[in-house]
Amino acid sequence: MPSHVPHSSGLQRLIAQLAPLLIVCAVVFALPVLLNNDFLLNKVARYLVLGILTVSLGLSWGFGGILNLGQAMSFGLGSYAMAMALKLKTVPVHTGASGLPDFMVWNNVQHLPWFWEPFRSLSFAIAAGLIVPALVAAALGWFMFRGRVTGVYVSIITLATMVVINLVIIDQQSYTGGFNGITDLAQLEIFGVAFDAYGRATYYLVAGCVLLSLLVAFAFTRTKAGLIVQAIRDHESRVRYFGYDVALYQIFVFALSAAIAGLAGMLYTVVMEFASPTFLGVQLSLSVVVWCAVGGRQSLVGAFLGAVLVAGMQGALSESAAFLETWTLVMGALFVLVVLFLPKGLAGLAQVVLRWIVQRRHAAGRGVAQGVGQTEGST
């Protein structure tokens, strides 16, 4: 039987797939040692958070085939959950013990609205930052996927829904802070550790969450459910005829992706020290798509790096308005090129290059032992 050519075992393959993820996380954790500048570190933390957001999109788009153009909706909901809790912590300081957040006072609100009440508890807020986006996504997913909405239509519905929520937040100024968002927040404090936006603790919190979300997303893709989700991306109806309820799988990956985006949103509030309607704006949401496409939608690490590098570059150039304008043009062009010629993004390119190098080495080695390697060649 020819089948006993040693296939690379499951474990070996697992290690090979985890390696890039772990290397990237190691670099992220090591960065503060090299970068002794709190201001810069805060900036990097910002890009790392955007990286987490992009990983969440990669999960639903690259693996599930669900191009969510409203990914920032979940991000924004998470960020508001955190901001509401941190805002209430400032209340005794600014407006007295039984007082209200300052913007409510300005808007003549008499009592703290019921949906603000539970946010006095930080644990509740953190849970809400994960669960609310997941539930909203699950509900929206149920609405779409039960009706077999696919492809482009999913993108339009998600985008429109996000804009509606954005409009509502801006409109309901007295409860949400409206256009200005929620500003002047207290510092996040967990188990006595204060997370100053410019402190090391915050950076490591973000780095820890990068590792956590990459691992969770990776673990999901390695489950059978993760495999089925990819099968749905390839050929939705075929999956149905094997007895899987396709909509449920789509709802699941959609909600998981939203929860990760919610986590990123909470961190963003901590790093930026405010929450704003722009966090669930069209601009950010579409940028995430660009980062994900450039980095590689089918690679979690690729998506992460795409965000960090592109957003970082943009941040570096934003010092000068003229540069930024040109940059947007260059980004547009780069994006179109990636869509056209590199559907798997830079990660796909890296894979091709790696495989090529390995094959060349292989070929060089095989020159000596001709004829043995016939059965091999699967990578």
Binding site: L227, I228, H235, Y241, F242, G243, V246, S378
Partner: protein, 250 residues
Amino acid sequence: MSSHLDLRDVSVSFNGFKALNALNMSVRKGELRCLIGPNGAGKTTALDIICGKVKPSAGTVSFDGTALQDLEEYEIARTGVGRKFQVPSVFRELSVSENLDVARARRTSVLGNLRWNIGNAGRADVERLAELVGLTDQLDRPAAYLSHGQTQWLEIGMLVAQDAELILMDEPTAGMTAQETRKTAELFARLKGKHTLIVVEHDMGFVKAIGDVISVMHMGQMLAEGTAAEVEAHPEVRRAYLGSGGISHA
């Protein structure tokens, strides 16, 4: 013996065109039924009705006592119906082994499938299936790279993996070489008895080699049923195939 699958007066129309017109068919458990008929007779549509891809406008489909016509596709699949499509349908971006793994649908719930998928028990199963359909050397290649015949084989392997009680095959040997076709016939002979099969085919040699009973469809209706010899002698069947050079050249 009571019938296992029963189609009663099933009708379907597309934009007013009756693709199936009060079709009746019943198949016994463990039987291998061949379904033939000229192009456009409604064979594919009949399979579509059974697996839920198309809903009948009238009539009933019952399988093992369950009424299928009102169920969703995935629910029908869970009652034990598997389907191979005329246009080979596999997951092109997934590897052969992953394709087979998806088809092994013992558990179908999301939460039930949230466990890690690196176990070796499943791998052994997948390797056995791959051997069955001659794709052992292709296990780690994306399905997109397979030849047409290999893709057909992969989908057949996926149906074996699914282990459905009733297997619907739509032109499984299209695009296969004579040798591949013979291997397919052998495989079907092995499946017969353990599974109930309905096979749509054009190749009369193949049909004669595998089929117990042959059903002939024409214009959305059942024209005749019987052994190969009976069917070929049937006057209406001869008339239906008139002009297409006889039954064996359909």
